[in-house]
Amino acid sequence: MMSKLGVFDLSVRYGKLTAVNDISFSVAEGERVFISGPNGAGKSSLLAAIAGEVRAAHGRIEMDGDILSGRVPEAIARRGLSMVPEGRRIFRALTVQENLMVGVGLRRDKTAVPDDLEAIYAAFPILGTRRHANAGALSGGQQQMLAIGRALMTNPKLMLVDEPSLGLAPRVVDEVYDRLCSLQAQRGLTLVIVEQSSARAGRVGGRMLLLRGGRIVADGDATAFAADDLLKEAYFGEATP
């Protein structure tokens, strides 16, 4: 079967600094893949390159066999890829509902939008209650749910989520992951999630890629990794070849 997402020899550079160094991996349809690794490992740069927000220095990115690399972000979004970025990047001056509606412009099935909106409110009731409030007034956890809902409103097939647990209380993180996983099951989504805490990734379950210094140093089952020394090595030791 063709993979949902294919990344081939991808590198991202900022001037002289190489943030992502010749990375290759693929993600199957419906899979959940965690990307973990220390600060500065290149996780966010990798997601940004896939979504078209930063240009790759070289390499190729494919979705459903279609080449994404070189396309502008709005064209990539139209192909069914959606991003929940690091720091959430909520439109603070817009209302909750307006935030959710920004991404529906690309959809061809406009008639399904009202039902989808209600589905988001059903999954995240607090967003429904506060639909006319300014998004800037939401708490961190609520903003994270809004960022996820906003990405889902584009009706994506593949969703990239960058550090959804950042700055949230553990109980709220549990809630965010619960919703994410059940939404994934309902919609047959493919998920790529950046998660600093490999323990958390292990508890949620899925596959895990371990990044260090812009390279993939391990690729396997998140739950097995969480208990393994491999992690310590990835964080503190020399990168394995």
Partner: protein
């Protein structure tokens, strides 16, 4: 007397507000201060008359009935702005803000010189809707009909713009893009469409200012856009760069301050009214460097 002052303040402030909005809209989505905005205004003024270097202006489009003239001149302004975006600013999309600003200066010079070639340098008297100069009695004061129409039109334009930004898809996309263009694009918002839309609106606002200026002053002058551009730019800075309500509020405030100073200053100090006005502006900016209304964010351009 005081009622007349109020009407003066509202109509002058309204023109400043509309001009400032034209600048703030583009700054909001692109972080570009478009110094050619004044020449957009001048271009729309001259689009009313037949090109010739004769001293006497011959009405061309300006002779059309208002129902044709107004939409046509708005379209001229929008068209010029969209063409400018496509030919000048789009190729420079990834250039530095300073390069963009310089390009906008250059564009202004090109438009102004084009007008000089086509129309000559001398100001021309043109009479647009002269019947509107007649005073009407209102609440015990004599107010020129034109002033009432200007105030009403300004309010209508502001209301339409607010509804468009609040209710339409492109309006939502513009507001999202003004806050975080990169995020909007990740959600499928087309950068080119949003920027072209902002330029079209800005050009139509420039044309609105042009119509009001011509009707009020009865003059077409190649330089007329530059003066109002200065005040409008100051209004956008005072209002908080990129904040649309801020631009409107500051435009009205500048108009009111200008009219109030004119009335309150002793006769011998009146020639220096603008020095007092800009002194006030400096004072405001010293107290609130971020402007009266800080914009939602100052994220980099696309």
């Amino acid at each position: 007397m005081t009622l007349q002052l109020l009407f003066d303040a509202l109509s002058l402030g309204g023109i400043y507000a509309i001009a400032a909005l034209g600048i703030a809209l583009i700054f909001g989505v692109m972080k570009l201060v478009n110094f050619a905005h004044g020449q957009f205004i001048a271009f729309a003024v001259f689009a009313l008359i037949v090109p010739s270097t004769d001293a006497v202006a011959v009405m061309g489009l300006g002779a059309a009935p208002a129902l044709v003239l107004v939409p046509a001149i708005l379209a001229v302004g929008a068209g010029l702005a969209v063409a400018s975006e496509y030919l000048v600013f789009r190729p420079l999309r990834n250039a530095s803000p300073v390069a963009l600003m310089v390009a906008s200066f250059a564009l202004g010079v090109v438009i102004q010189n084009g007008l000089l070639v086509a129309y000559g340098g001398r100001p021309k008297a043109i009479s647009l809707w002269p019947e509107l100069g007649k005073p009407v009695a209102l609440l015990g004061a004599e107010v020129p009909m034109l002033q009432i129409i200007v105030i009403v039109s300004v309010l209508v334009v502001l209301a339409l713009l607010a509804v468009m930004l609040k209710r339409s898809r492109i309006g939502l996309e513009m507001r999202a893009a003004a806050e975080d263009f990169g995020m909007a694009r990740l959600l499928g918002v087309r950068a080119n469409a949003v920027i072209a839309g902002a330029f079209a609106l800005s050009g139509a606002l420039a044309a609105t200012v042009a119509l009001v200026l011509v009707a009020q002053t009865g003059v077409a002058d190649v330089r007329m856009g530059g003066q109002i551009m200065l005040v409008a730019f100051i209004a956008t800075v005072v209002g908080g760069m990129g904040s649309l309500p801020g631009a409107v509020a500051a435009g009205f405030a500048l108009g009111a301050a200008s009219v109030a100073l004119q009335a309150a200053l002793p006769i011998e100090a009146r020639p220096f009214r603008d020095a007092f006005l800009y002194g006030l502006v400096i004072l405001v900016l010293l107290l609130r460097p971020q402007g009266l209304f800080a914009a939602a964010s100052a994220k980099p351009r696309v």
